[in-house]
Structure formats: C-alpha cells, structure tokens
C-alpha cells in the first residue's frame, strides 16, 4: 500500500531540511468486526528528512498501527483512510522481533541486507562489527530460541539498521531491555546519528526520557482512538519543561 513515490531526493545534506521524508494526513484506521475498534483517528504526521521523531502514547492507542501504515503495510483486515505518502525505502522493525527461527543469529541479521541487494561480504563484515557494538559477540551462530528477549530485540534492531535504508521505523526497539543495556543502546542510537545523512527515524516508545534523549520531536497520541494531542520540538538545552508537558499530555486527568 505505497502511495506514490517519495518526492524528496535522499541527498546527504545535513539536517535540518524541510523535505518531507514521509507524511500522513487525516489518517483513520478502523478494525471492523463485532466490536469495531477505531485505532487511529484523523492523525496528521509529517517527518522531515534528517528528523528523529518519537511517538509516545498509552498502550493500545494505535502506535504500532501507525508505524505499520508508515511502513507501507496495511494492517490485516483494517479499513484505512486518509492520505499517506511514504517512501519506497523504509526499514520497519516490528514490536515482536520477527526473527526467523530457521536462521542463526548472524544470517538473521543479514536478512535486510539481502533484501536490499547488498554485497554479501561487505554486509557480513559490517554485521560482525555491529554484533560487537550491540553486545552480541559470541552469539553469531546461536539459534533465535537460544537468545534472551533483549538479545532478540537487539538482533532485530541490527537487522533493521544494517541495510542503511533512509527511513527507519522502530516499534519499541528496547521494550525488553534492562535499564543499563537500554541506556547503552540509547547511547549507541544517539551516537550513530541515524537521522543524519539525509535519513529519518520514527521511534515508538513508552519511555518519555528515552524519547527526550533521542528525538528531535516527540508526538503524543491520546488513548484509543489515537489522535495527536501534542507535537513537541525537544529543546536542545534543558528538557525539564518538555518533560513536564509530555507527562501532562499523556495523563490529562493529572493525578500528580
């Protein structure tokens, strides 16, 4: 379900640019059935080239659904309306890792590179480097069921980053990680500047601090049906104010 070609040329200019990498306008997604569920209602979201956007919101508000639409995947059995312009070259990381049980860890990491038609030897060498950076060294030949939940997530992230697609769509990539590993992976993500070099990232997360650390912009979705209730540019200096407004938007009744 890819609507039209992406208009931007994915140049290697440094951010910020005003070229949209992907855009949805008036997006409504409904799951019909005995108990009809409106997962997203009238969502507008624009991600520009060079931008790192985090999406936060309560569980079940439609974050994964939004990411699927951005990835050009129609959620099974869903009614989708609205205008979506997504690039042909996105790499999507599912919330469940999607690892293939019949491939060992390293061949799993290479799936994306193979689809992108990358040179085998180069991809292999790069994957081995990333295994080291992701703390997966020594598990290259492990079967997926021999990996812990957090290791599986890191492997899935590796698989998604390896092909070097210009747009990354990451659905809670660190949900299963402990605080320390999570911080290390956050540091890695912040360090590689995934959104640089004419690229863009959309990251779904439950962690407001993670969103503030990594993203240039944070989008808050309301409880189901998901609507955008806040679209906040993260200030470079001091995120305390931003943090407060995010928490307020997430919990409008304001228990605190």
């Amino acid at each position: 379900m890819r609507h039209g070609p992406m208009t931007s040329s994915l140049s290697t200019e440094a951010p910020p640019t005003s070229t949209p990498a992907l855009e949805v306008a008036g997006l409504t997604v409904t799951f019909p059935g005995a108990r009809e569920v409106v997962a997203l209602q009238d969502v507008d979201l624009q991600v520009r080239v060079g931008e790192f956007v985090a999406v936060v919101g309560p569980s079940g508000c439609g974050k994964s659904t939004l990411l699927r639409v951005l990835a050009g995947l129609t959620p099974a059995g869903a009614r989708v309306s609205g205008r979506t312009t997504v690039g042909p070259a996105t790499a999507w990381m599912p919330q469940r890792d999607g690892l293939l049980p019949w491939r060992r860890a390293l061949p799993n990491a290479l799936v994306g590179a193979r689809i992108a038609g990358q040179d085998r030897a180069t991809a292999d060498a790069r994957a081995r480097e990333l295994f080291d950076e992701f703390g997966l060294t020594g598990f290259e030949r492990a079967w997926t069921h021999e990996l812990s939940g957090g290791m599986r997530q890191r492997l899935a992230l590796l698989r998604t980053c390896l092909p070097g697609r210009p747009v990354l769509l990451l659905d809670e990539p660190f949900g299963a990680l402990d605080a320390i590993t999570r911080r290390r992976m956050n540091a890695w993500l912040a360090g590689v500047d995934l959104a640089g070099h004419g690229r863009a990232v959309v990251l779904v997360t439950h962690d407001v601090d993670e969103a503030l650390l990594l993203a240039d912009r944070v989008v808050v979705l309301s409880d189901r049906p998901g609507r955008v209730v806040l679209d906040l540019r993260v200030p470079r200096d001091g995120t305390d104010g931003a943090r407060r407004s995010l928490l307020e938007a997430l919990d409008p009744e304001g228990t605190s």
């Binding site: 996105t90 999507w92 469940r96 293939l100 019949w102 689809i115 069921h145 092909p163 769509l169």
Partner: protein, 245 residues
C-alpha cells in the same frame, strides 16, 4: 509374551504348519532362508529408497508450484488427489505395460504413494506461514520472491519432513506389493513364490522383514529430518513430582 502365547496355542490346537506354523519354526526358517534373501532385500530397499526420493522431490516441487501460482492450486490439486484414489492393484499392470518388468515401474509406484503425504504436508505448511515473518520481510522492502525464498520455503521444511516420515512408512509396503504383482526379484517375489508352495513360515519371515525394514527406514528418515531442522528444539518435558500445594 505374544510369541509364547502363539507357540503354545499352535502346539495345543494341532494346527497344521501350512496354516499357521509356530514361531519357533518361523525362526528356524528365517535362519535357513536368510542367506538367500540378501538380493531380494537389496532390490526392495533400492525400489523403496529411490521411490521415496523421487516422491519427496516431486511432492515438494508440486507444493512450490501450488504455493506460487494459485491457479495451479485450483486445477492440479484435485487431479493429484484423484491419482490417490486409484488402487495400486489397478495401477501396477498399467505401469508394467508402459515401463516393463524392471526397476522403473516399482520406483514409480512407490513414488506415487510417497509424494502425496509430502505434498499435502508442504502445501499446508506453506499456506500457514507466520504473518509476523511475512510482515517483517515486507517491512524491509521484500518482494514476493524474497517472501518465497526467505520465509515460505524454509517454513515448509518441517511440514515436508513430517510428510516424508509418513511416506517412509508406506514405501517398503508399496514396493513389496509392486513386486508381488509383477517382479523378478524382491521380497514381493519371495512372498509370491512362498505362497505358491504353501510355505506360510516363509511368508511370515517376509512379513517380519517388511516390518523391520519399514522401522529402519522410518528411523533413517527421522534422523535425517532432525539433521535437516537443527533449529527445532526438543520439546521440553515437564518435570514430574511437583504438585502445587
């Protein structure tokens, strides 16, 4: 236990040996004919093994076609099912007419019985591909070709091997029947000769051999299947002796 009951039963009831010989006599016969059976066993095993191989390859290829082209599925599947309704006894003379008395018609007959379980199991496995895996490939920009090579085909392997296990249990029997109907060598021919001479003890030796060889073939295929799917972990058995308070 069963054997003792059989031995005692036969001795007490005075059954003539050409109806049901006691196991001790069958065992004696087995030792006597064993040196003569080498060639027959080799023939039967060759037919069963080749037939199984051909059947597995044909079954898997057909499954791939059916998965790749829905149109093929609609036309070929019913036809293929039809071939399974024709009994061997009818098919064997036709095959002999077309392919002669040699190895070929037996291999074809075994292949015809063997490919079906492989086909059905593979088609089912390919159709039941995990949506999670298919979506992952699509989400990385994968095409239908990628879906096939990365997900559908490997996902069908355990299913196909399950079908092959079933096929392996039929293979020896199918080969023996084919030989019995028209053969120059093989266990089926041995049974045919023994029947003409009312040598029930020899037939029983053949029956035991067929059972034993089928068991061996099954174990072999099972072992190969395990080797071919190293990612499948042995199912964990719940530890006994732990009852919740």
């Amino acid at each position: 236990m069963l054997l003792v009951g059989w031995e005692v039963g036969v001795r007490l009831s005075d059954l003539p040996a050409f109806v049901l010989p006691p196991p001790s006599q069958v065992a004696r016969t087995a030792v006597e004919v064993a040196p003569l059976l080498g060639d027959d066993v080799a023939t039967t095993l060759t037919e069963a093994g080749l037939g199984l191989l051909v059947g597995a390859v044909v079954g898997l290829l057909l499954a791939v076609l059916i998965a790749a082209f829905p149109l093929v599925s609609d036309t070929v599947y019913p036809l293929v099912t039809l071939t399974q309704t024709v009994p061997t006894v009818v098919l064997a003379p036709l095959l002999i007419l077309w392919a002669g008395f040699g190895l070929l018609p037996k291999v074809v007959l075994v292949a015809l019985t063997a490919f079906f379980p492989v086909l059905v199991a593979s088609v089912t496995a390919m159709a039941a591909v995990d949506a999670e895996h298919a979506e992952m490939v699509a989400g990385l920009g994968g095409t239908r070709r990628h879906q096939f090579w990365l997900v559908q085909l490997p996902a069908s392997v355990p299913g196909a091997l399950g079908g092959l296990r079933v096929a392996a249990t039929y293979a020896i029997g199918a080969a023996v029947v084919a030989e019995y109907l028209a053969g120059q060598s093989g266990l089926g021919v041995f049974v045919q000769r023994s029947r003409k001479g009312y040598e029930v003890d020899q037939i029983l030796v053949a029956v035991a051999l067929v059972a034993g060889l089928t068991g061996l073939l099954f174990l072999l295929v099972d072992g190969l299947a395990r080797l071919a799917t190293p990612w499948q972990r042995p199912s964990s058995t719940p530890r006994p002796g732990r009852t919740p308070a």
